[in-house]
Symmetry: C2
């Protein structure tokens, strides 16, 4: 889809954060057999304003026709391509605790093409056990094993104390993407992209909103 | 701490989202025995600009003294109070799958005063099992049980298909806060605050950034 190549470079952070939501929502629409939708209808169902939606979609090219709406399948295809979902990703999980186990079993990631191929821990009691059919390996084997398996992404699920050691080992490998579930602000070498999930921060925000809503 | 009461009302969304990060970071400093810090030093360690930090802290009252810095313990106390951490919260988990199990065992939440008191599921095969010492109960018992236990917050961990039914049951109870881990945009009745964790959206954002960083 060459039509949008020139425009892709200028996408702002805010638009990038909305892309997954569009992608998810449009897939839901398609699975309900909705193949064409106006920005007004989409606004009602997704909760962004219609003008916001038109502006966002203008970044990717010309999709809407006045009085006709957007082709849902075309949008999914194009947004998926922008996000990088036109391929599968091989995942390594570092830290085989409860959270690592939950992520290894999380179907919503697998369904998007993120497939867990290796699980690693430093705890000798866990090494050799299996999670979701995958054997837990020692972190000593990490660098050579992820190279062999062509791993793209690490889900980082160690505890706080183990995280810096784990990052040092990951930096020795060729992996350049970390999905970080450890509640620390990671420092990684240049060239590695990090997406931080800090559940504690979100829970504390919820606590604030609860308190504020009680007051009203 | 009456000094800041008047100012609290005007705190913006952006500041609220930074509060948990300050809270976490200042606690780390205190555990390293740092009891006083300038906005410049704090800027280096937390990654916000010094002027941003001074502006944020001005929302809560007068903490800094020129050439003297901020008292770390005072800040923790005040930010904790604003967030609502001057009390404990009782939590119910709805959905006893892998993610619900991980959250029931997540020490970082317990340490902040969020204590799991009940776990509920609709799957009869799971009811009666224990997670982290807590018996899984039927959703049929949810409304009466959470009232008895004075539950404050639900961690919502059902699958996508079960989520709307679960929300209907939660709405029948007195609970007014949902920490939502299900990848749907929840519709809840007025008066219930929702904090959405959409891990799929974050993973897709990471995928986008990986692709963009490869190109450079």
């Amino acid at each position: 889809m060459k039509r949008s190549t020139m425009k892709k470079e200028n996408i702002s952070q805010a638009v990038i954060r909305r892309l997954p939501r569009y992608y998810r929502h449009l897939n839901d629409l398609l699975s309900n057999n909705i193949r064409r939708i106006s920005s007004k209808e989409l606004s009602r169902s997704i909760g962004f304003t219609a003008s916001q939606i038109r502006q966002d979609f203008n970044h990717f090219g010309e999709f809407g026709q006045t009085g006709y709406g957007y082709n849902v399948e075309d949008l999914i295809q194009e947004i998926g391509e922008i996000i990088g979902l036109n391929r599968d990703y091989k995942v390594a999980i570092v830290g085989a605790g409860h959270l690592g186990t939950a992520l290894a079993n999380y179907q919503n990631f697998q369904n998007m093409g993120f497939v867990v191929k290796g699980i690693y821990d430093i705890d000798e009691a866990k090494i050799g056990d299996h999670i979701s059919g995958i054997e837990i390996q020692s972190m000593d084997e990490f660098v050579s094993d992820v190279r062999k398996k062509k791993i793209d992404i690490v889900y980082l699920c160690t505890n706080k104390n183990g995280v810096q050691q784990a990052v040092s080992i990951i930096e020795e490998s060729n992996i350049n993407a970390i999905f970080n579930f450890c509640p620390v602000d990671l420092k990684v070498k240049e060239g590695i992209v990090v997406e931080n999930i800090n559940l504690v921060d979100n829970l504390l925000a919820l606590s604030y909103y609860m308190k504020t809503s009680h007051k009203q």
